[in-house]
Every structure is written in C-alpha cells, then in structure tokens.
Symmetry: C2
Subunit: 278 residues, 2 copies
Amino acid sequence: MSDDARARIFVGDIEVDAVPPNDRGLAYGDGVFETMRAFGGSVPWWARHWQRLTRGIDLLGIKAPDEARVREAAESLLEGCDSVIKLIVTRGMGTRGYGPSPSQPTWIVSRHPVPKHVEAITLRWCHLRLAEQPALAGIKHCNRLEQVLARAEWLHLPPDEMYADDGLMLDSQGHVVGATAGNVFALRNGHWLTPPLDRCGVRGVCREWVLAEPGAAEARLAPSDIRSADAIFVCNAVRGILPVARLGDRTWSLHPQVARLRARLAEANPAFAPMESP
Amino acid sequence: MSDDARARIFVGDIEVDAVPPNDRGLAYGDGVFETMRAFGGSVPWWARHWQRLTRGIDLLGIKAPDEARVREAAESLLEGCDSVIKLIVTRGMGTRGYGPSPSQPTWIVSRHPVPKHVEAITLRWCHLRLAEQPALAGIKHCNRLEQVLARAEWLHLPPDEMYADDGLMLDSQGHVVGATAGNVFALRNGHWLTPPLDRCGVRGVCREWVLAEPGAAEARLAPSDIRSADAIFVCNAVRGILPVARLGDRTWSLHPQVARLRARLAEANPAFAPMESP
C-alpha cells in the first residue's frame, strides 16, 4: 500500500497477513464494497453502509462477516483522523470454477486520505453506455470494469479538453444513470429528481439520505432533463453533495436550494460540515 | 490454496509472497484470465491463450507482463503433470478510485486438477439473462458475477431436479450466448453454428479452433434453434468438445459429426486425445 493507506485483512474472524491467491474477489470480482467517510474516530453513517452491504451480500449469497468485528477493525485504522475507510467483502476462497461453495468471507478494511474539498465540480458525458442487468442493479458489487473504462475516457485527451472531475453515464437506452463515482440529482420544477437505478447503477448511501428529504423523488431522466435543470449535483458518501458548476457548455452558479440541502446534510453528518477557512 | 492447487504471484517481473491488498483486480475485477489445459509438461495452446489475453489487456489498457516470464512460471508448476493452469493478470496496485493509473500488472499462475473425463453432458437453461456490453464482449475479463449467479441457480434445487453439468445463458434479447463455462455449437443443415458474441460472452480458445474448421460459422441462435439442432456441444480449452446428451426434455445420442470433430481436435491438441480405458 502507499504511505497514506493502511489495511487489515481477515478471513472470517481471523486476521491474516495477505489476501489468499485463490480468493474469488480476485478471480471474478465476487464481492461488494463500501467507501465510508470517517470523522472524529468513527464512521457517522456506519449503519447506512452496513445496511447496503448486507443487501449486496444477501443478493450474492455471500456469508456476512461479524459486524462488530468489522467495525472494530475499521475504527482501529482511524487513530482519530478524518479519513476515508474502504471495506471490501468477498465470497472468500474457492476452487476453480464459477459455482460458489460455502466459505468464510474475506474482508479488507483500508484507510485513505479525504479528497480535497471543492466548492463545485465539472462534469462531462461518458461515451461508454452502462449495460442493464437488473439482477445486480443497485448494489455496490466489485464488477466495475465499466466504471474503469468510463473514467479512462478522459485520461488521454489534450489538456484543454481534458478537465472534468467526473463523467455522467447513460444506460443502453439513453437514460441517465449517474456519475462514475456518485449519484446525480437534477432540480426541476422545485423537485430533486434522480434515476431509479432498477436496471444498473449503484444506490448510494448519500443518495438514500437525499431521497428521504422533502421534494426528492426517483424519475427516469434524459440528458436533456439534466441540461435544462435549474441545478444539478453529484453526491456520494465520501464527499457529500458536490454542486455541479459545468457540464459541457452548460454552466450553473450555486443554487440556493443546493446550498440549503448541503447545510442540512452537514447537520445530519458532521463529516460534511463546511471546513473552517484557514 | 487447497492441496491440489499451487500458485505463484508476481508484480511485474518480481515474484512476491502475496497479492497486494490494494490490487485493482480485487477492488474492481480489473483484470483478465486464462484457463489452460497442460499436457506433458507444457501448454499445447499457449500461443492461442496468450493472443486472447493480449486482446483483453490491450482493450483494458493493462500493461502486458513478459510472456516468456509468465510461461516459465506457469510451466514451473507442472512437474510434468497433465493439469489445468489458470493465469490471472490484473492492472496491479492502485489508489482508491476507478481512474486507472499506470502500474505494473499483478499476475498469478496456479495449477489445478484436470476435471474428470465425461463422454457427454447434461445442460439446463439459466434464468439469468446476460447484459449486453459491446465494449467488453468477447474478452475473458474478471467481471464474472453474472456467471457466478447463473451457476448458483441450480445449487439449491431438490436433488432430482438439480443435475446439470452446465447451463445455457441467453442475452436480454433472448438470443443464446453460451454455457456459463464454455461456448455452444449447434449442428443445423450440416453446419456448426455458434453465437457471434459481439454484445456479451467470451470468445473461447476452443471456439476459435472449431470456427476455423470447414462448415463452422457464427449465427444468432434462438433457444428453438438449439432444441431443434441435430446435435449440440459445449467446448472450452480445459475440456475440449463436450457432446450434449440432454437439455431439458430433449436428448441426443452421439452424432457422427461430433465424434469426427472430437477426433480432429485430439489430433490438433494431444491434451484432448481420448483416455486409455483402464
């Protein structure tokens, strides 16, 4: 791991030195993950993350690790720091072949730096369309080559064309799904709308928080619904609500309803409170 | 690893003790694999496997490991045995986030037992439909949750309903794609037909060999084209050509054209020559 990352690895309840080479996470992406913002030595949204993780491992038929043990291991990495904790849970070791057999899950907790705070972000449209697989939609599983390829689209462009913090992805029907690393909300007629994610995409923990706010709802969105929105933001559980300032030729200034939602989020989760200016 | 499996792990040219916990293969299934039949201390179809591996890592933008080094490491596991070699190549270590940055690939070679020889197999239809993602179609990447879920469909059925060696999968349009762990060919009007795999599925090494035979061709196939075929077989590079004796209510006895093709395959690759009866 790099200097800014620490990791602990477990098979079932037992801490181990290394990921087994026959781990099914490595072979098939046969696992799920969570990326969690820590604050003041704990993870304020732990219960929300664990709930989504449980939905994923239940759907995949993976044995759940012990929650208290995982939380203890995750918090042991924090040393009181504001940081990001990543948790991967795989089906564990297996013999060759796709058929899953019962095994102890492998799980890895690692600590990472908090991304730099930004006031607003720039988006682009990704060319790659997401395939529709209702059986896997919504959960945060480890089959993420589509996101890797989408994110790689603007790594090799000329510098003046290149800048974007993230990209919006469409499904094969042309509906908006979300950013590669976050969910998108569009303000239209006073309502915050976000795609339903019943065919692809990840139901983010921060998205669930926003959806519980008054005036937020799921709706199929076309690219034109995004472009003509009064405001848009991307959200995830690491960075909270990220107002979008630019998408292609379209620009937005900070909308009071985004600022208001951000303030409410800061009340709900202290990790997303505004930074003190230096 | 279990007693019947041995593995060696490398990062670039350097042999290491363990898979790094921040390997992108583990995080995102960001890699490709090959499963190869070894015979008499080497892998007869090495060049074919390496060619497909190269197609996959080029498409994903993964740095290629040194072929001679990989082959040497793979063959070091054989000890002259007839066995199966699995090779995984991942993008290597990375910081958190989907964006790929240049890194040395991680690669793992492992040895596994040869599956028991069978004269014919039984298939079923899988319920799960494969999502269509043309950007990833054909290559043997490590995002295999669909195959894991499909294979799990008949793990928990009552014993009398349960028996099947593999299952056939359809895409979301209802076209036949193949078995979870092999490609399918159907004999119709004297031609061996197999799906084109331009939207999903893996272009198998044994499939490529069959397609180069006279009378074999790609064609979109509906389930009814399979059921009404004069013969069908599944093929892969571990087990060669597997005649299908049963699919649901339909049964087939061994067709002379399957036997003829199997004999030609045995000439082309000695690993697939018929076993001596004891």
